[in-house]
Symmetry: C2
Subunit: 164 residues, 2 copies
């Protein structure tokens, strides 16, 4: 099967549908474009969720902690498409109301692996994360994606540190 | 171009070469199978490194903190191949000497995006991470990949917590 710019648009449309379903806290709709055996590496534990049913449960547990109103935004998306396999990378964040809600404090890196099954693109894999600071083992929020902020990795800072 | 089981083996061989180069702390060799514009989302900041040269710098900075002797191991690898695009997911860890060195305390989730350029598979994207505990914003080590350990997300634990 030939890859066209339509494939890219189909994948971007899939992600737009996911954002809309997420904003509506509609887990069933969020999962419509996932393969039954999709594997999620999420930003929070458990470190993996295997199968669309398990991924749905992750969201069902997580969404009650979200505010009533928020929007979902992707940025820096790049789509790489082969015959029936594709992957996308970029960043995602929540824009909550009120803006200081904990869910809105960081961007997250996302990588999505897709497969075209009977002509339709489906999510086979998703990896969502933020880095951690090896000097103190704290999550490292991405507050400004245009900055490549780093902890102080100098020799002095390392002494007695818990760096990897 | 047709995908064969040879493609899977070629990608697994690429990863084996990377492990061998890593164990030798040979950054130039580690980078041999990367595209010039590859994008890394690493486990530690900066949150992204764009370009093989930047990724090499990440390793050059990081490797001095590794012990002289360690081995590198992948597990649970699954390879998904389209025409000229593939992605792999699995987990990776270091086995340092001595075993209690900080670099050996967690498995990491890995997702690798590859492209076949002039018949040769090359790494276009890599995402490496561990989760974080949203209750205290600490990195969440994956000490036993056969367990799906989770923090206490109960309502009591959440009160006053910093959960997302």
């Amino acid at each position: 099967m030939i890859t066209t710019s339509d494939d890219k648009q189909a994948i971007l449309d899939l992600m737009a549908r996911w954002r809309t379903a997420l904003e509506a806290k509609d887990v069933a709709k969020m999962m419509e474009d996932y393969l039954p055996d999709a594997l999620l590496f999420d930003a929070c534990p458990p470190y993996k969720a295997k199968g669309a049913n398990s991924i749905a449960k992750v969201w069902e547990k997580c969404l009650p902690y979200f505010p009533e109103k928020f929007s979902s935004e992707h940025r820096d998306l790049q789509v790489h498409i082969g015959g029936n396999v594709a992957f996308v990378h970029g960043i995602h964040h929540f824009l909550p109301t009120p803006a200081d809600h904990p869910c809105g404090q960081t961007w997250m890196r996302i990588t999505i692996g897709l497969k075209r099954v009977e002509g339709i693109w489906k999510v086979a894999h998703e990896h969502v994360s933020i880095p951690f600071n090896p000097m103190n083992l704290q999550a490292w929020y991405i507050t400004d994606p245009d900055s490549l902020d780093m902890p102080d990795y100098s020799a002095e800072a390392c002494e007695g540190g818990s760096q990897l």
